[in-house]
């Protein structure tokens, strides 16, 4: 029979059922072998299992976060340090134009920096550790979806990054951050930050799988992020930079991201920055996903 797990109290009634009912059940497809439908359904089923496995891996990632709270704590303490340094040390010397206080200007930069660093380092180091400990090998011998190992982790890291953004927001408010943006603006800003987190997690995944040594991943993952975050509109207006640097700073993705998040948070018009930033995220996501999947395949076959 099709229904295998029945509670005992149901069984008595079941036995008295007229035979037609059972056939009706069969007609609805519950007892019939998939047969012709198998072909069409195999794609669906594959997607279902990929999602199932992804959730198992994501759950593992979230559990890890609760077991190693240091990771989250240090990441947020570091960002909080940046807030204090820029707000109180450099802030007085930086002029961002009339009508905007420096702390209001600064926080968008902090959000983007926190998310970008957290995503690249978190995912990259995590995957490199999985490789080193042989966990990736074990996952690869299981009858599970291969994509799920990467997707589950990047999704768990997305949740972790969401928490650090909230913490940073609270830190910002504590030091005088008073955003004027409406609900829609904030929704768009948070959406873009999550998008950034997800796509940079995949960058981290690609780096982690290519470099493999957790300590090396830590530096390889972050070293290139410094010029991108500092030579941008994150902490100072680009207009104060030398001409050649302005050309870079104005057109690179971090600036677009910061500009969009800042405009939305402060209730200003983001102009084209929002779309350009989103396009950058999607582009980075596509390329790093391709690379990460390729490196994942190679990671285990190389050894």
């Amino acid at each position: 029979m099709s229904t295998t797990r029945r509670r005992p109290e149901d069984q008595g009634r079941e036995d008295q059922r007229p035979a037609e009912l059972d056939r009706g059940e069969a007609r609805r497809g519950r007892a019939r072998p998939p047969g012709a439908r198998r072909q069409r359904r195999s794609g669906e089923r594959r997607l279902y299992w990929m999602w199932h496995d992804t959730m198992v891996i994501a759950e593992r990632g979230l559990r890890q976060t609760t077991r190693i709270p240091e990771l989250l704590v240090f990441a947020t303490v570091q960002s909080a340090m940046f807030v204090f340094l820029f707000r109180y040390v450099f802030g007085g010397a930086i002029h961002v134009g009339k009508g905007v206080s420096y702390v209001n200007y600064l926080m968008a930069g902090i959000f983007v920096q926190t998310v970008a660093f957290g995503a690249v380092a978190g995912t990259g180091v995590g995957l490199a550790e999985d490789l080193q400990q042989g966990l990736v090998d074990r996952f690869r011998t299981l009858p599970m979806s291969r994509m799920a190992v990467l997707l589950g982790r990047t999704l768990a890291d997305l949740a972790r990054n969401g928490i650090s953004v909230i913490v940073m927001l609270l830190v910002g408010i504590a030091v005088g951050f008073r955003p004027q943006g409406g609900h829609l603006g904030w929704l768009a800003a948070i959406g873009l930050l999550l998008m950034l987190s997800f796509s940079f997690s995949w960058v981290g995944a690609a780096i982690g799988l290519a470099v493999r040594n957790p300590e090396a991943v830590q530096s390889a993952g972050l070293i290139w992020l410094f010029p991108f975050t500092f030579a941008s509109s994150a902490f100072v207006p680009i207009a104060t930079m030398p001409g050649w640097l302005q050309a870079f700073a104005e057109n690179q993705p971090i600036t677009k991201l910061v500009d969009a998040v800042r405009a939305w948070a402060l209730g200003q018009s983001a102009g084209s920055a929002g779309w350009v930033a989103l396009a950058w995220c999607l582009g980075v996501l596509a390329v790093s996903m391709l690379l990460a999947v390729r490196f994942y395949r190679r990671a285990a076959t190389l050894k």
């Binding site: 593992r60 042989g134 009858p143």
Partner: protein
Amino acid sequence: MSALDVARPAILVEGLCKRFGETQALDGLNLRAPAGTVLGLLGPNGAGKTTAVRILTTLLLPDKGRAQVAGLDVVRRAGRLRAQIGLTGQYAAVDEFLTGRENLEMFGRLYRLPRRRARARADELLGRFDLEGAATRVVKTYSGGMRRRLDLAASLIVSPPVLFLDEPTTGLDPRSRLGMWELIEELVAGGTTLLLTTQYLDEADRLADRIAVIDSGRVIAEGTSDELKRLVGGERIELTVTSHDSLDRAREVLGRHIPQGESVQVEEGARRVSAPVEGGAGRLVDVVRELDAAEVALDDLALRRPTLDDVFLSLTGHEAEVDAGEGKL
């Protein structure tokens, strides 16, 4: 290996080759293990044991040759095969930050058991592997032996018909090692086909039905542990006398204890006399008494059991070369 052998082997490897850059890790490897038996893969670091296991568990593609596990080709039917095998590698591949139960539950769900069954199975395995007390502890706090047990448990979640254990006791203390052996023996008694790689002759001796000795990616000898021991020559008594004058008397004493057809070897320069013997420690005591009676003074005396080095020495003429650089292959 006759053509009449109708039982389909659980593991069948023919002419497997794999090269990593300059290193020929596998060079025409042939293996065969009938269902329900234990095949021991014995060899030093870098011999190609792990490479073979990685190919058989779908982690690595071979350059050449063919391999079937549970009747499934490891390359073309890799996806299906993964539901039929379990692997426990050289290092415990479990998540350090999860508890023992969470680890097993996670792997169970990745084997696609429903959540409730994955949990039940986890509890069952924790009990069987004597990890109940540590079930809710984070694995980071486990001892080496506990980790290995958890790792082994993780590869048994769906009771796979074919199990691969890659150096399951390397780095374990003697007591944990014995514990692992007992667990493995229980498994095998349940009918699991097992491929076991090891650097230790005693481990292969105790656990394996047949042993394949591999060197430089190829099988250089294959047989039961008794057959291999016969090849190597079993136990030997080795003694070093204090003065050259007593060499002859020592030779005479040892001569009374050797099995028929064997001979006593004398190295004059080193004042060393050695001979194959049977009967172990009891025989050694007899020899000591008689040497004493013959007034032979000794610098050194030992009963040597054959080691992997002896197997290699007698099979290849060179000692097992331990190449640390290839240890992870």
